[in-house]
Amino acid sequence: MKWIDILSQSLQNLLRRKLRSLLTMLGVVIGTAAIVVTMSLGAGAEKAQMEALESTTNLKLVQVYPFYGYDTSATGQRRVTKITDSVIRDIRAMDGVSAVTPMVNVWFGGSFALSTGKYENSYAQLLAVYPEDFAKIKKLKSGRYFSGSTDRMEFIMSEIAMLDFRDPKKEYEWVDYYSILDAGGELPLPDINWLGANYKLILRWEDYSQAEPPNYEPEITEKEFKARMVGVMPADLNDWQFSYYTVCNLNWLKKIYKENKSWFKEMGFEMESYDNVYVLADTVEDVEEIIDQLNDYGLQYSSPLEMVAIMKEQIATVQSFLGFIGAISMLVAALSIANTMMMSIYERTREIGVMKVLGCRLSNIRMMFLMEAAYIGVFGGGLGLIASYSLSYALNNVQWIQEIVASFMSGSAIFETGGSSTSVISPQLALGTWAGVVAVSVLSGLYPAYRAMRLSSLAAIRNAD
């Protein structure tokens, strides 16, 4: 038989029993919609959570630490307990790494003061990074990145840190920058020609070790450096890595450290190795590979992707439970397909027998019944997808339905999507489910089709009607 004839015969047989076929198909429609919509709720939750996470975190960043803690001699795990410049070079050579910089947080027994004109910033916290890598990690609001020159100090600040420049003669006034930024307002920055002004950085140490009673006068030493502010970072409350710091060029810090090594050491600041390194991956997909390489290298790390993984796992758990319920309704639909097919075969015993007597190939008979089952899957699945998209649209757009869903989902934090789409049907989900439904339908038709093929042709020619 020609394929076109098999297909058209199957379709005709299906259409012969319209109501029964329709009811069977309805089961498939419900099964398909149950699977697609429940999965789409999970996908919607995942999308919303990812969006929330991406807005606060750079998922491409991996934070790297020296290997602390437990003894690994039993497992043979490599341990790198000191991150030196040569380790940094090794990390830079790893696959998928776009940028890498130590995050040197300069702290003193003494104090900082960064000043320009009448304004002084005595809260400055110095963070030194490699200039080229920083340029890849952090976007600026205005100005430029570090020039690379180490002749004088260059620094970049966010507007949050810039608030700390004050006139010491005036009364202290605390600015609630959190509320202002949260409301989308502008920070009341002091009137400084930020990128044009000359700044002074003063490192001051009060050494009490030689102090004598009764006055305990410390021995005060100060180092003064000329400085320029070259760039401004946007005020980002979530950016706890950079927004609160005075970011400077690590190469400059290295230079002044070298020149004043004993003085720094006396104050308790050493820079022989790094405690905290940032690695930027080329893409989010590269992060996993980088993590593997860091692990093999013997370093410890943390990545927001670990949080993503936990989140995805939670959603997958809920999703698999919901999908399981959908799958059960699909199973019921499959049984109903098998049942419909069996009934149709019993009804058509005589007809099938005649077909065999007339010389219809066994494989053709089997194929006709399989195709009948496949049609149920194709049409039922297709209608199920239409139903799914309609339902998904209603879930995302119709107020009262959203309220009902919200009341069901309350207490399930991962489904709180904060206003974005509740239900997301990806093409993969739609087409994958459709293909799966057709496959299940064909599987349900397998045994009935086999039975049809095996039916005795003698039944046809028995004369009793």
Binding site: M1, V357, G359, L362, N463
Partner: protein, 258 residues
């Protein structure tokens, strides 16, 4: 030439035996049947109910396996064939006319007749035109697009005959083809089936319990309890009475019935 061809039988049965086991009882439906049927013959297998005539027909058509013995049809040993091969064999060599017509109820006369050609993989255009010719030959030119329920028994059996012959089989098996028809229609159908087979030199093997039919056949095979008790050749078979032409359709009764 015809003589030479006639000497080679188209069907050869040797010691054909069929034993049904019902519980502990063994029932010999056929008991060592030897039979030869020649091309173009109209053979009539006559017997009472339970004589084994239907079993014999079923085995010749490859619908049942013999318990013992051999069936050679058109140069093929049927008893050695698988079911799939038998289906193929039927499609290429054998036509079958049923007592209860067994037309496909959802299809028109034309589609019913075209069906075996569809099974054969013949394209729609070709099979429709061949089915149309065949229906014209059985006198149903005006009923091509009628469904079985819209036709009389005689018309339905004409469709059945057209369907059996559309593949141009060497042999036509007919199992009580007039069993469900009234007396006059029976004779018309019998004449049609005989004439059309004669015209095409198709071997016709008919099973019946009606002794009247025997006088119209070239060969009469009488069965009793699984044995051949008579195998005679009719040199001058009787004419089938009734003054109408086979191809002329006088069985149109559908208007009355509906």
């Amino acid at each position: 030439m015809e003589e030479a061809a006639a000497r080679e039988p188209v069907i050869t049965l040797k010691n054909l035996t069929k034993i049904y086991t019902i519980g502990s009882e063994k029932l010999r439906a056929l008991d060592g049947v030897d039979l030869e049927i020649y091309p173009g013959e109209f053979a009539c297998i006559i017997g009472r109910s339970g004589s084994g005539k239907s079993t014999l027909l079923n085995m010749m058509a490859g619908l049942e396996k013999p318990s013992k013995g051999s069936i050679r049809i058109a140069g093929k040993q049927l008893e050695r064939m698988s079911e799939a091969q038998l289906v193929q064999f039927r499609l290429n060599n054998v036509g079958f006319v049923f007592q209860s017509f067994n037309l496909f109820a959802m299809h028109t006369a034309l589609d019913n007749v075209a069906m075996p050609l569809m099974y054969k993989g013949v394209g729609k255009m070709t099979r429709t035109s061949r089915a149309r010719k065949m229906l014209t030959a059985v006198g149903l030119k005006t009923h091509m697009n009628h469904k079985p329920t819209q036709m009389s028994g005689g018309q339905q059996q004409r469709v059945g005959i057209a369907r059996a012959l559309v593949t141009q089989p060497k042999i036509l098996f007919a199992d009580e083809p007039t069993g469900n028809l009234d007396f006059n229609t029976s004779r018309e159908i019998l004449r049609l089936i005989r004439d059309i087979c004669h015209e095409r030199n198709t071997t016709l093997i008919m099973v019946t319990h009606d002794p009247e039919m025997a006088q119209y056949a070239d060969r009469v095979v009488r069965l009793l309890d699984g044995h051949v008790i008579e195998n005679t050749v009719n040199e001058h078979p009787a004419e089938i009475p009734g003054g109408v032409q086979a191809a002329q359709d006088d069985t149109v009764r559908d208007e009355d019935e509906e």
